[in-house]
């Protein structure tokens, strides 16, 4: 009796190594609508109950006119959005970031992130750092956040 050859190989999901990533590559994420629930849950997880995010009455009197999302919620959401949409890097983590909060994210705003690889640097025999410039925009294409992140990526073993 002849056994059928397996039709597939058991491997992990595809991951891109340092060598495969090119300066100038661009990515765009899907959108995500930031809800009141997101802000309430993020206050609970982070412990940041600043009135800016939690006191609707007080915020009626502010320049924003209403509660706004935590800047760090926007930063975290864009990180999740981008990784949901691109073939993941063989990433070991993040080494650093330089980030600016340009405009508020309000309840009901839909944000997405555009990113471009702006730099690559080998840091050791088995890893390198890929710098991504990221722009987070809302439904009116206004920039709400922007900055750079340095992602640590594995080098392909020979």
């Amino acid at each position: 009796m002849r056994l059928a050859r397996p039709q597939f190989q058991m491997t992990g999901p595809p991951r891109r190594y340092f060598e495969e990533i090119e300066v100038g590559e661009t990515y765009e994420s899907p959108g995500r609508t930031v809800t009141e629930t997101d802000i309430v849950l993020f206050a609970g997880v982070s412990g940041d109950y600043n009135v800016i995010h939690t006191d609707a009455e007080f915020m009626k009197t502010s320049i924003f006119g209403e509660r706004i999302a935590h800047g760090l919620l926007g930063l975290s959401i864009q990180s999740g959005l981008l990784t949901r949409w691109m073939t993941p890097y063989a990433s070991l983590g993040v080494a650093g970031l330089r980030w600016k909060f340009k405009n508020p994210i309000k309840i009901g705003d839909t944000i997405r992130v555009r990113a471009e690889v702006t730099g690559k640097k080998e840091t050791s025999a088995d890893q390198g750092v890929v710098t991504l410039a990221r722009t987070v925009v809302n439904q009116r294409d206004e920039v709400v956040q922007e900055g750079e992140t340095d992602v640590i990526v594995e080098r392909r073993r020979e």
Binding site: R32, V45, D48, I63, L73, S79, G93, G96
Partner: protein
């Protein structure tokens, strides 16, 4: 009715330091954070790197001091030195580095560190805030 005590730009002291109580990071924190944000840990047993950064502001609220009247969080310059692991107990330290008066508000720069149970700095960097002035309100 008296308003709760807050710190306006005029009362910010350059050089003042604060250290928060500590919190043990559990798998529940990581799961909730990942569920809310969609940002996941690079591998099992670790917390997503940005989660530690998010704790830096949250832990700050546990210090009994009048909070800064922040108009806007302007930016972050942040370095991640070591992974945050599930089970680590972290606290946040901060120091006011710079204050710069503008016309209607002021810019305040704070150095923040996330420190683990062994005293190692896991992440650190600078937060820049736009803070309200007392005189602008009158």
């Amino acid at each position: 009715m008296s308003s709760p005590a807050v710190t306006y730009f005029e009362d910010v002291e350059v050089g003042s330091r604060h250290e928060t109580p500590a919190m043990t990071v559990t798998q529940a924190h990581v799961n909730m954070y990942a569920g809310v944000t969609g940002d996941h840990a690079p591998e099992a047993g670790l917390a997503p790197p940005l989660f530690a950064l998010c704790l830096s502001t949250g832990l700050g609220w546990r210090i009994a001091r009048p909070p800064l009247v922040v108009i806007a969080f302007m930016g972050i310059d942040w370095k991640i030195e070591r992974p945050l692991r599930v089970g680590d107990t972290v606290r946040s330290r901060s120091q006011t580095m710079v204050k710069r008066s503008m016309r209607e508000a002021g810019v305040v720069v704070e150095e923040h560190q996330i420190v683990d149970q062994g005293g190692d700095v896991l992440q650190h960097g600078r937060f820049t805030f736009l803070v309200a002035k007392k005189e602008a309100l009158t």
